[in-house]
């Protein structure tokens, strides 16, 4: 099975990565060679096998909802890419 250009552009959209036509063609070549390599898995019969989602197959423990770090608002907002230092700012989303 091969992945066509239209699918590449669709995956890019889902991945929220903008790509131009040149990049899309490169990715088409790369992804097809990678999936060709991955297709080897189809040789294995896995009908009766349970999937392994994680090695730590224990149930997740609950812990108390406690505040452990306080007063770091300023420190966190300092990493904001926008100039505004009071909020995280994004392009306008409501008309």
């Amino acid at each position: 099975m091969s992945i066509d250009l239209k699918t590449i552009k669709h995956i890019a959209k889902l991945s929220r990565i903008s790509i131009d036509d040149k990049k899309a063609k490169e990715l088409e070549k790369d992804l097809n060679s990678i999936f060709e390599f991955i297709e080897a898995l189809n040789k294995v019969d896995t009908k009766k096998v349970d999937p392994l989602t994680s090695i730590a197959e224990t149930s997740l423990k609950l812990r108390g909802d406690e505040v452990k770090t306080k007063n770091i608002r300023e420190q966190i907002l300092k990493n904001s890419p926008d100039e505004n230092k009071d909020f995280f700012v994004v392009p306008k989303v409501v008309e």
Binding site: S15, S33, I38, T46, V49, L52, I55, K78, N79, P81
Partner: protein, 485 residues
């Protein structure tokens, strides 16, 4: 000065404890050497001024009972360090300053270690040659224009070049062991759940594990004592009884049963690696171990399964980089195009490839065919090991199918790059501990490593076997300092 940098971590600690050397002398010696080694490009961020300040404080009123008393260390730039830039080798995090410290680095500082700076790595730990870093290639001290391996390439190169007495890396598919093998150093990937993942920039959460990279096995045991601790901040951290790894080191491995998996004898493997492996077998026999031929029949499917599981988890983990709260941001006419441009400009090619593979295998209509299939294969691979461990205590393999290659040699073909990890990936998929120790050299004088794979949570066994092999192997890197300016 040159004496200091030639000491192993444990020898250095002895000299500090005996007051033969001060923390300042040591810290300054490593900084001076780093200043002369800039062309290896091992550091992304240095914190030298603070390091000297901390060393001074340690010399004035430090606690000499600490495990790492006043020892300067540089770490992979994938560990978040409070108030010090943490980039994961990516443009998208090139200006990120964490407001918290990763658990494992915190353990280092709590035992008296001093941070020298942050070491280069492949972008988001995705790579096997340190060529995907936004901050440029790292050169290996073993040869000009040679890759140090990856993704912990900066760590391996800095360690081998003696710019830090030890370091820590992370290993998702071989990222500690492969660069250790390429640079003639020791690299240990602990059992999944041993070392906390809290504060490590996430790549593939069910595979990622931090571990030590050191000059010898004793140092690896010492570092593991410091960083392997249960942590409530990591929900997959396992609360098992940890050993006293350094103190319990023993070179008595008589009667240990070592498995040799026939599936690791791959086509096209250089003769010198085949004979390295054979010499390792002979050595283990001499040391009193019993060699047993075993089969891990699904080995050949590990790499393709990994290239579904790891990108799938990565595509989910890397969804957070959207240019809103931190990191690089591009412009766009609306929110969506801002996201798309930010991610397009902020991520490098390999990271974009993996995000797209991951997105594809998780997308509607393909989930069962790829992701679920890979998880089932993962079960079969783990079952292979479970079966083998009914008759053996550990498994011996080569660490990598080749020695270090030249910068640029494999960048055009992603699959040929991925094949580097053919011997290391099954270990991550199964959550097992494994260590790479330097065992010989190839015709170019580049180091070659042997890998020992252990049972889950039996790091001590692994350390003891490699410790006894190391004594006999007596490997020396003998680097000529050609890069020093």
């Amino acid at each position: 000065m040159s004496d200091i940098i030639n000491l192993t971590l444990s020898a250095l600690i002895d000299k500090i404890k005996n007051k033969e050397l001060s923390s300042q002398e040591i810290t300054k010696a490593y900084i001076a050497r780093a200043e002369k080694s800039k062309n290896l490009n091992t550091y992304i961020t240095t914190d030298f001024e603070n390091a000297i300040e901390k060393a001074k404080k340690f010399d004035e009123k430090g606690n000499f009972d600490y495990k790492l008393p006043g020892v300067p260390l540089a770490v992979k730039d994938l560990f978040c360090t409070n108030n010090l830039k943490t980039t994961a080798g990516s443009k998208i995090l090139s200006n990120f300053i964490p407001s918290y410290e990763s658990t494992v680095t915190q353990h280092l500082w709590d035992e008296g270690a001093i941070l020298l700076g942050k070491l280069n790595c492949d972008e988001f730990a995705m790579g096997s040659s340190n060529e995907t870093s936004f901050f440029g290639n790292v050169e290996s001290p073993v040869g000009k224009k040679v890759v140090p391996g990856g993704s912990s390439g900066g760590s391996a190169s800095a360690l081998a070049a003696k710019l830090t007495p030890a370091t820590i890396g992370t290993d998702t598919g071989g990222s500690i062991r492969q660069p250790a093998s390429f640079t003639g150093t020791v690299g240990l990937k602990p059992t999944y759940g041993s070392c906390s993942r809290y504060g490590i920039v996430a790549f593939a959460s069910s595979l990622d594990q931090a571990g030590p990279m050191t000059h010898d096995v004793s140092d690896a045991a010492l570092m593991l004592d410091v960083i392997s601790k249960y942590d409530t901040k990591d929900s997959t951290s396992v609360n098992f009884k940890r050993g006293d790894y350094f103190k319990s080191l023993s070179s008595n491995i008589k009667g240990k049963k070592i498995g040799i998996p026939k599936e690791y004898r791959v086509d096209g493997m250089p003769k010198e690696i085949e004979s390295l492996w054979q010499d390792g077998i002979t050595l283990l026999k001499k040391l009193g171990s019993k060699i047993i031929d075993i089969s891990l029949p699904h080995t050949t499917y590990a790499l393709p399964a990994y290239y579904i599981v790891a990108p799938a988890e990565a595509s989910s983990n890397l969804a957070r980089y959207d240019g809103v709260k931190y990191g690089y941001r591009s412009q766009g006419e609306n929110l969506i195009s801002m996201y798309e441009n930010t991610r397009s400009e902020g991520f490098g090619d390999e990271v974009k490839r993996r995000i797209m593979i991951g997105t594809y295998v998780l997308s509607s209509g393909y989930y069962d065919a790829y992701y679920l299939k890979a998880q089932k294969i993962r079960r079969l691979i783990k079952n292979d090991f479970d079966e083998a461990y009914k008759s053996v205590d550990a498994i011996l393999t080569p660490s990598t199918p080749s020695s270090a290659f030249k910068i640029g040699d494999k960048t055009d073909d992603p699959v040929s790059m991925y094949l580097n990890d053919i011997f290391t990936v099954p270990v991550n998929l199964s959550g097992l501990p494994a260590i790479s120790i330097p065992a010989g050299k190839d015709k170019n004088n580049y180091p070659l490593g042997l890998q020992l794979i252990g049972k889950a949570f039996e790091e001590q066994n692994l350390l003891n076997i490699s410790y006894s092999m190391e004594k006999e192997l007596n490997f020396k890197n003998n680097l000529q300092d050609w890069w020093i300016k």
